[in-house]
């Protein structure tokens, strides 16, 4: 696997209007980064090979598949958020793609337009767009936006100048009126997507969409159960990678591959075979999402004798927790069930949001973690402020807690290394 490379296809890139020189450079950087972060891990499960392949094809094979889907008249929707009603898109046989936003490399592009002091994810994503470095942006039919954060919300106005952009309002309180508004927004999105797909969403089709996405989430839940076992059969980094891939791979194939991997992992658990050294510190991550290829903090944790056993994040449990009941088959109840499922995602954009603290505490218990690293992207005000309440809840219960605020730049790696190592030392000392 050391001959791994993120593949290039300049001809294809040229055709879809990508900046070929820059993407060629970027795929070299990604190749190196991936080899160091993933392929150097010991005792990786066989089933990870598929996901290595997916990364290898991130700028080529998957793009060809998407172009093929477009030719078949299937709409391609780009997203940035776990609130996108994927079941509707998939029900209409559309392709749902979580867009790139985890790289430092495109931030200078975005800063030509956007202020410096905003979230790196927002800047990175917009930089991918205006720098034409992300092939996915180049093949979209619709950019799905939502109102979960101020930076993204205002940024969509700029995207809309050059891309067909649809913004769905996500209410930020959890009252009855908010559920009503949400349901209306779900219906409006459905109508919009029907227009894009030039067909209407039948009850059978939505039911099929629900089943496909439920299966994907179920597979990820099963994987999550396995990573929480006493001697984890898979690294936290690999689980994060799979969660990152869940946003842009074909959902049916993806679910099959995750299920196959889970079978292998179940065997490993039976044999008592794990990936980390005995005595590794079990760490839970809570906070903002780590978008591909942002592996900065997990790299430090797992190279310093820790293992990540749970990730309370959008690219993590907030994506796969909760399913939509499959019993109802009429459109109205399916849309209501869908709305209610999405309303259970306890994003920090809500106020109040006590349920998230309960989610974190119960995941901490369930995963038998020994400490929580609360990870907040710089300038993510909602997660940043909510950290205080989580910290307080942890301190009341004697849960070791470390707060990290960072971005994608490498300049604070030394400091983070010290803080994370000291946190692991602190936990080890408590054991004895």
């Amino acid at each position: 696997m050391m001959n791994f490379e993120v593949k290039a296809d300049p001809e294809l890139w040229e055709k879809i209007g990508v900046d070929v020189t820059r993407l060629s450079k970027m795929r070299e950087v990604l190749t190196d980064l991936y080899k160091k972060a993933f392929l150097s891990q010991k005792n990786r499960p066989e089933g990870m090979r598929y996901f290595d392949e997916v990364i290898s094809n991130i700028h080529t094979g998957r793009i060809r598949e998407i172009l093929q889907a477009k030719e078949e008249g299937r709409p391609v929707v780009g997203t940035f958020c776990v609130f996108v009603p994927e079941e509707i898109i998939v029900g209409l046989e559309g392709v749902c793609i979580g867009l790139c936003g985890g790289s430092q490399g495109t931030i200078p592009d975005a800063e030509k337009v956007l202020p410096k002091n905003i979230c790196p994810l927002v800047k990175s994503a917009y930089g991918f767009r205006i720098g034409r470095v992300c092939p996915y942006f180049q093949v979209l039919d619709v950019l799905y936006g939502e109102t979960t954060c101020d930076a993204k919300k205002k940024n969509y106005e700029l995207y809309a100048e050059e891309l067909p952009t649809y913004v769905m309002e996500i209410p930020q309180m959890k009252r009855k009126v908010d559920e009503e508004l949400w349901l209306k927004e779900v219906k409006a999105f459905k109508e919009h997507m029907e227009g894009v797909a030039k067909r209407s969403l039948t009850e059978e089709a939505l039911h099929e969409g629900i089943k496909i996405i439920n299966r994907k989430r179920k597979a990820l839940q099963r994987l999550n159960e396995l990573r929480m076992t006493e001697n984890p059969p898979i690294s936290g980094k690999d689980v994060l990678l799979i969660n990152q891939i869940s946003f842009y791979d074909d959902p049916v194939r993806f679910a099959e591959k995750v299920e196959a991997l889970c079978e292998e992992l179940e065997e490993r658990v039976k044999r008592g075979e794990g990936v980390s050294e005995r005595g590794a510190v079990r760490v839970m991550i809570a906070g903002t999402p780590m978008a591909l290829p942002n592996w900065k903090v997990p790299n430090i944790v797992e190279n310093s004798g820790g293992i990540i056993v749970y990730e309370e994040s959008c690219i993590g449990s907030r994506y796969f927790n909760n399913l939509i009941p499959e019993e109802s088959k009429d459109l109205e109840s399916m849309l209501l069930n869908l709305t209610r499922r999405y309303m259970k995602i306890n994003c920090a954009c809500f106020t109040p949001n006590e349920e998230r603290i309960q989610d974190i505490l119960s995941a901490y218990e369930r995963s038998k973690a020994e400490g929580i690293i609360y990870y907040s992207l710089a300038f993510c005000h909602t997660y940043n402020i909510e950290a205080y309440k989580v910290k307080r809840a942890c301190e009341e219960r004697g849960i070791p807690f470390l707060f990290i605020e960072t971005d994608y730049s490498p300049e604070d790696v030394g400091q983070l290394q010290t803080r994370i190592e000291a946190f692991l030392e602190q936990i080890r000392e408590r054991r004895s």
Binding site: T406, Q415, T418, E421, A422, E425, Q426, E429
Partner: protein, 248 residues
């Protein structure tokens, strides 16, 4: 015989602990090749049991058989040696500042470290001293001659330097500016101290603990006695050696 080495951002400290518990130490500039400096220093001592801390700890481990621990743990060990009853450690080094809270057994309970900039660190004081034409060694005493009439609002080293320059150009008394610079470091540290929570005894370590003004201003603001070990800059290196002794 145990050797602790702290490869800091500005200086390298080695501390040698003999079987009898005698301590000897040395401090050198990190220079442009800290690894070479460190290896040169280590050679002078006969110890086989080496523990490293500081920014260069992992670099050293790549070139020498040694154990690494973080500065946080090292300081906890070093401080307990002089002050077994210590519960709060304030450490201000060249590039980092930290506040560490210890539990009753002396284990690290919580800690905070400055974020990725030089605000509230020794480097900040160095740059400000240079900008005002003072030696680092006299900067604290000069600051205590100021009466606290002005305030620097910028925490960022670069912005604070512009602020100092504009104060100088408005004819402000350099002793007052020095005082304000020290107060800004203390304010930054205090916000960390309050986040971690302060409990007596409070011990101040790191190279900046030799600055009389920082210690005095901290003491006044907290209304508590601040204890300073002899040679506060070697606390981390000493802690490494003590840690190894406890292990073996």
């Amino acid at each position: 015989m145990y050797l602790g080495i702290d490869l800091g951002s500005r200086t390298i400290k080695v501390c040698f602990l003999s079987e009898k518990g005698e301590i000897s130490f040395e401090v050198v500039e990190s220079g442009y090749d800290p690894l070479k400096q460190a290896l040169g220093l280590i050679q002078k001592y006969p110890a086989k049991l080496i523990v490293a801390t500081g920014y260069g700890r992992h670099l050293l481990k790549e070139h020498l058989s040694c154990e690494v621990i973080t500065e946080i743990k090292a300081h906890a060990f070093g401080v307990r040696h002089f002050f077994p009853e210590a519960r709060t450690i304030i450490d201000i080094g060249g590039q980092d500042s930290k506040v560490i809270s210890l539990d009753k057994e002396g284990r690290v309970a919580r800690f905070l470290m400055n974020e990725k900039c030089a605000a509230g660190t020794g480097r900040f004081l160095e740059i400000m001293a240079m900008s005002l034409g003072y030696k680092v060694s006299e900067f604290g005493e000069k600051a205590l001659q100021g009466r606290g009439e002005i305030k620097i609002s910028s925490m960022c080293t670069v912005f604070a330097e512009s602020e100092v320059i504009s104060l100088k150009n408005r004819g402000a008394n350099p002793l007052e500016i020095a005082r304000a610079v020290h107060q800004s470091v203390v304010d930054k540290i205090l916000s960390m101290v309050h986040r971690v929570g302060v409990e007596e005894k409070v011990v101040f370590t790191g190279g900046v603990a030799k600055n009389v003004a920082i210690a005095r201003l901290l003491q006044e603001a907290l209304g508590l006695e601040i204890l300073i070990p002899p040679h506060p800059e070697i606390t981390g290196a000493l802690g490494c050696a003590l840690y190894k002794r406890e292990q073996t």
